[in-house]
Amino acid sequence: MSILGTRVVRTEDPRLLTAGGTYTDDLRLPELAGALRVTFVRSPVAHAGITAIDTGAALAAPGVAAVLTAADLAGLPPAGDQPVTEPLLASGRVRYVGEPVAIVLTEDGYQGEDAAELVSVDYEPLTPVAGVDTALAGQSLLFPGTSSNVVGSGGQPAPAGAFGGCDVVVGRTFPNQRVAPVPLEVRAAAARWANGRLTLWASTQNAQQARDAVAAALGLDQPAVRVVTPDVGGGFGAKIATDRDTTAVAWAARQVGRPVRWVETRHENLLGMVHGRAQQHTIRIGGTRDGRILAYHLDIVQDCGAYPRFGLFLPTLTQLMASGVYDLPYCGSSYQVVVTNTTPVSAYRGAGRPEATAAIERAVDLFAAEIGMDPAEVRRRNLIPAEAFPYTTPGGAVYDTGRYEAALDKVLAAAGYPELRAEQARRRERGDVAQLGIGLSCYVEITAGDYSGGETSRLMVDSTGAATVYAGSSPHGQGHQTAFAMLVSAELGIPMDRITVRHGDTDEVPRGVGTYGSRSLQLGGSAVHQAAQDVRDQARGLAAKMLEASEADLELDVSHGTWMVRGDPDTALGWAAVAGQAGPGGLVADVDFRPASPTFPFGAHLAVVQVDTETGRVTLLRHVTVDDAGRVLNPVLAEGQRHGGIAQGVAQALLEEVRYDADGNPLTGTLADYAAITATGLPSFELVEMETPTTVNPLGVKGIGEAGTIGATPAALNAVVDAVAHLGIRHIDMPATPLRVWTAINEARARS
């Protein structure tokens, strides 16, 4: 029996459970001996000109080796195209609270915090731009030389007549609020220069892209930079490549001529690391009274924060997935991207796709409420049928495989949908304080959206019979070591404990793309799989020569990892013997796997909540999901990704929100203020299995890292609204906090 598809516990875990991982701030390397500690001086105001910086008092403080400001940046390449540029340290103007203004280098970390307080910066206040409406009004501009705060736009308004045949049209504007990724490990880096070459240790999701970004920012040739990724304590998109803070750490080490290390505080992390989502949606949905949706339009205003990073592109992913799982005669979208005096926005688990799903799944419920039809039935009547695949959407996506109605049926059956509705009816009839809400979402998403970049793998089998995988994709908790070793073991019969997986050091793995967008198994895993097949083919030739047999007569006994003449165990040769014949390097295969298209996982989520109608408190009672991401390599890992995704999705629906006041001051700058979800906020999840393979890659797999998040948010929010729908409530903005729910209930009661 193949190891593929079986529940293999992780080989990563014994080390993480005993010694703990080696995260960037845990490094105790001789190369970093005597490293100075980096402390950033960050802007305390959202929008201001910098008129003077006095570093004198800081320089005189104990342990201070240097204080660096924008004045020291001379000689670096331009920081982007004028007039919208993002320098390493604020130059003349600050645009968000938390923006790096200066760097203090000290012998130890406590001294750094003391000295940073002594850097005196004179700020000349400018009118802050907080919120997309203020940004669009354009009274205050972030970048001199521009005429508006709009930095991107696209799409078309709905054409005249798009909603013409509809009996019913519903429209609404609501936020997909800004949230913080909150990886448990904050950002951290260490840097050392030797002989003109930089070594940068950084907590990143992809060392190779980090190397390229840092080289470009510092004006270096790529070979002059080595990036090493130690263990990474979570990323969720926010640690893709690198950012200005990390690059500034590398630069600071060059400026002072000593190794340096940096780990931020959580407060800095909540202000300085990218945020996610931050879209405002205006939806319009129309159809017939018998439940057929005929037209849907989504208009997006993306708040990309103070500087356009990946936030500039998020709405295009939202547009691509706007029509969701539905076969719609008309679906269109349009967007604008604005800059505001807030933390920059970038990828966060799902990156543009959760927003698309949240919008259309809320819209479908609004439509269902308007026509008075069960939301499950409305969905069923509009799903893309199984026989329609591959299916090209109005947005131009080509969905590879899907069984959307089967997913919906499975989740309804597993949840006991009719009984839930009956219980809801009983509670409504009795007028219970604790009302029940049932929320659905059907989703499809795109994974390996940047499939064309592919992923690399090198596999070596040495003369001891051990295998080493050099993977272009490095993990931050996903379990690559286990997954990739399983793929090699399944193909070659080499035991798991004789397979090493290496990644994340650009000298060892110069070419690679990384872990994001739910791409690692389908691209990186396929590369490992093909490398194993290549090694197997090479070994067949060698073994044939050794056994003086024809290749066609040879077989590999995968259960023992031995080559033999078919049916003759006496001829068995182990991997050590065969690889020993391959020359000093052993057997080697290099694969750059590039599929022809991305993949489109799908599923259905059903959330059951209880709402206390006196306090507005929401309790998630159950969360039932079908998440079909094609073949499952290791259910343990796939379930773990679903669990984590569901939690983050529910958290956005019910709890989490990065908030600013009207002056751009952050109100959620600590974990005491930002409501990261805890164990008490969640139930155990009910996962339903479903596997619809893709033909896009040899493993038949799609991505599973983000699916849970994408499905969970609208299901949970729809459940909250459903719980109070009988009071005349059609919508509540996310997050559905007790205050928001309580307010909605009171307003509804006042109306009736």
Binding site: V9, R10, E12, D13, P14, L16, L17, T18, A19, G20, G21, T22, Y23, D25, D26, R28, G109, Y110, V182, P183, L184, E185, V186, D231, V232, G233, G234, F236, V263, T265, R266, H267, H476, G477, Q478, G479, V636, L637, E639, G640, H643, G644, G645, I646, A647, Q648, T670, L671, A672, A676, T678, A679, T680, L682, S684, F685, G708
Partner: protein, 158 residues
């Protein structure tokens, strides 16, 4: 103080936090720092057998006391503590950053309440954030550990 059974002594600044003492002086880096408001629990250690957040204890306060970190939980022969074993078996960790603190919080929880319900486990771990697992498998792991430890009571002593 003793850390994982060994004496550790050093002169440090009076403001030195226990977590920094463990990481920078004792050289034990399994104990992580995840926040600055005592919210996340990544720095949880056992102080005289009870879980504390070592970011909110001064090193000086631990003077003369007994500290156990994740490095000190397994047996001398490297045998995993039942809670560590259960975390592995139930996939109760992904990136591993919250894990040392989470495991120690669970050990402390099970000492106080050897047979907790799921709800009691969730309440007991409310002060420890995990961003990867959605807590599902962490809760499973703690319940499994409780069952295992009841079956092998000798383990509880450790």
């Amino acid at each position: 103080m003793t850390v994982n059974g060994a004496d550790v002594a050093a002169d440090v600044e009076d403001r030195t936090l226990l977590v920094h003492f463990l990481r920078e002086v004792a050289g034990l880096t399994a104990t992580n720092v995840g926040c600055d408001t005592t919210s996340c629990g990544a720095c949880t250690v056992l102080l005289d057998g009870e879980s504390v957040k070592s970011c909110t204890v001064l090193a000086a306060q631990a003077d003369g006391h007994d500290v156990v970190t994740a490095e000190g939980l397994a047996g001398p022969d490297g045998e995993l503590h039942p809670v560590q074993r259960a975390f592995r078996a139930e996939h109760g960790l992904q990136c591993g950053f919250c894990t040392p603190g989470m495991v120690l919080a669970a050990v402390s929880l099970l000492r106080e309440n050897p047979q907790p319900t799921e709800e009691q486990v969730r309440t007991g771990l409310e002060g420890n954030l995990c961003r990867c697992t959605g807590y599902h498998n962490i809760v499973r792991a703690v319940l499994t550990a409780a069952k295992d430890m009841a079956a092998e009571p000798a383990e509880v002593a450790r």
